[in-house]
Amino acid sequence: MTTAELAPVSQHPVEPPISQPIEPPADRPILDPTKAAAFPAAVLPVLRNPQLRKNVAHAIDVIQAKRTRLVEEKTDWQELRSAASGIRDEALSHLGTYLEQFEERCTAAGGTVHWAGDAADARRIILDILREEKASEVIKIKTMTSAEIQLNPFLEAGGVGVFETDLAEIILQLGEGEPSHIVVPALHVNRSQVREIFARRMGLKDLSDDPKALTAAARNYLRRKFLEIPTAISGANFLVAETGSVVVVESEGNGRMCLTLPRTMISIAGIEKVVPRFRDLEVMLQVLARSATGERMNPYNSIWTGVTPGDGPQRFHVVLLDNGRSQILAGKTERQTLRCIRCAACMNACPVYRQTGGHAYGSVYPGPIGAILTPQLMQMHHAQSLPYASSLCGACYEVCPVKINIPEVLLELRSQVVHQERRQTLRFFDPMYLGLRIANLLFSRAWLFHAAQRLGRIGLGLFTRRDGWIHSLPSLGAKWTQTRDLRGLPEQTFHAWWAAREKEAK
């Protein structure tokens, strides 16, 4: 079917401004791991942008403070974490059973379950459903999974107009930006930037930069779309195997609008999103709200089961997405990555993310969880620099509500990267690799080590100034001295001092 055959379902009094071709900003970050630059290079534009860094730091400080206060008031927080990680582990260790259960019960309740092996499968399934519905437009609830499979550009190219309905997603969609956080995706954009985007794209010249006015503008912009567009796409925070239900957690009410008003609903969910039983939500909802936004409970949770006659969409599809997840499941250390409930507590706590923001991670999943999830979803073919985008301080592990030991997975992935590199013949001539091979040789033989030490003293002596400090080194050494000085070697090595001391004692 061609685009021309798709009858428009609704006519808007004001033509949606999204269709106007606007040149994307030249510095638009790339969040496709197959195309993005390596982390150390991707991070440079951010480090040189003080406004961006200020926006990110401010947002993170606010969420962190709220989270800390609400976690501290919870006397059973550690017990909740243990239960949450236990529930997620149990779901993963019997994932086949639970998914089949979910499918059976969702189908019995009137839903249709689709299985997508990879991103291309999922995109095709969704577009096929939309074409069957003769949908020319679709409203969307924020879903990271749809960003992962790059759904929006695909649907647009297929002739379906996509309208994001989460405030942050509207800011990004209208401003042609990219998400930099998984809970607050536009945290890098400040109010005057939002004002500029809304004024330009919604045609509101006199809009003020008061967040209240900006939010009201978004409410007006979306109200008719909610009432008129009969097809919606959502993600899922959880799937319940026992009941075949889907759970969506949100704050704004745009989710409820999308889940209630349209005639057809499509929910896309990673296969790992399942929890065994309805009761498990008593743990998951408590830890998610506190970890994600620092609230005792987020304003709205919606749980629905297939189709309810007379209430909400009468056609309901769930697309279960693998896209590399079953391979992560097979890894002993790696499996815990799939416990993630996308709360973003790890990125809020991460000293690296705080400095770099999300775009440098070259993926829709930034921060510590992105550093382990993205390379694995790419089956270690891309994003090999990400496991190094961490100081291994462990702050992410400490706050993780499902106890993912992110440093442990980072180390495992680093060893896989090294293993990959070792197999490349060109590596043999890489100065870093060569240096490490030589170090390996030197450190394993005492006499070679002492000889190298003597040589090193002579070598470094050339660069040591009179104040006893080395201010600059050539070649690889410059990487250290570019930003800091190095103390010159002392007169005596420890070994020499010890030997001399022993001699004196006799």
């Binding site: 239960a83 008593e282 005792r296 909400g312 693998d322």
Partner: protein, 226 residues
């Protein structure tokens, strides 16, 4: 590209290869699920009065208006709140007790009301399934007295009747009340809100912007309502 049923087979094959098809069976799953650690607080420890106070405190933190009444005063309390609101056209689910529908208002009883009609209404009056004091959450299961999901979504003002006997302290206590899991649940913790612009909390994005709760003190009355 493959069809969905081929994809299904392949995905499940990969999953069972990873989990071990011997171990990944319903019986093992049930046994291990039952043995999960659940050391967190399940039942609350507050007295009845403290629990109600906590609930009211949380609702007010969310800017909801709360008023209390005795069970026999309920109809009058509803009429008083409607009058104070100044609103005229009010949606009501079909299963509300008739005495709740105070005379003199443009009641729109939801027997398959069109969305446009609900959108035009100024408010909605419903009962609820239960409430959780810890987080100030109101839970709807969308029964005949709570109504379809859409009626508590579009009108800008939600007048909700909550009985004190419906208030539990903790979230697990609510789940304990769901022996048969419900098909539809909406939990409401304060009016819709966003903090997407510079983390400034703004209330009232898409859901009702105003909530008004009538708390029926059936907990201290001799004739307990259920």
């Amino acid at each position: 590209m493959s069809t969905s049923s081929e994809s299904r087979q392949q995905i499940l094959k990969r999953i069972y290869a990873a989990t071990g098809s011997e171990a990944d069976q319903p019986e093992q799953a049930a046994a291990q699920w039952s043995a999960l650690p659940r050391g967190y607080i399940q039942a609350g420890s507050m007295s009845g009065e403290a629990r109600i106070e906590r609930m009211v405190e949380r609702l007010r933190e969310y800017d909801a208006e709360v008023s209390e009444c005795e069970p026999e005063e309920l109809a009058a309390a509803i009429a008083a709140q409607l009058k104070a609101s100044g609103k005229r056209s009010i949606v009501a689910p079909a299963g509300l007790p008739p005495e709740w529908l105070a005379p003199g208002y443009d009641w729109k009883i939801d027997r398959d009301l069109q969305t446009e009609e609900i959108e035009k209404a100024e408010g909605v009056l419903t009962a609820c399934f239960c409430a959780i004091a810890d987080s100030g959450t109101i839970v709807l299961h969308h029964s005949a007295s709570e109504g379809r999901r859409v009626i508590t979504l579009l009108p800008d003002w939600h007048l909700c009747v909550l009985k004190a006997s419906q208030v539990v302290e903790t979230l697990p206590e609510y789940f304990a009340r769901c022996q048969t899991p419900p098909a539809l649940v909406t939990t409401i913790s304060g009016p819709s809100a966003t903090a997407d612009i510079e983390m400034t909390r703004i209330k009232g994005v898409h859901g009702p912007r105003f909530m008004n709760v009538i708390l029926v003190r059936d907990d201290r009355s001799k004739t307990r309502l259920n």
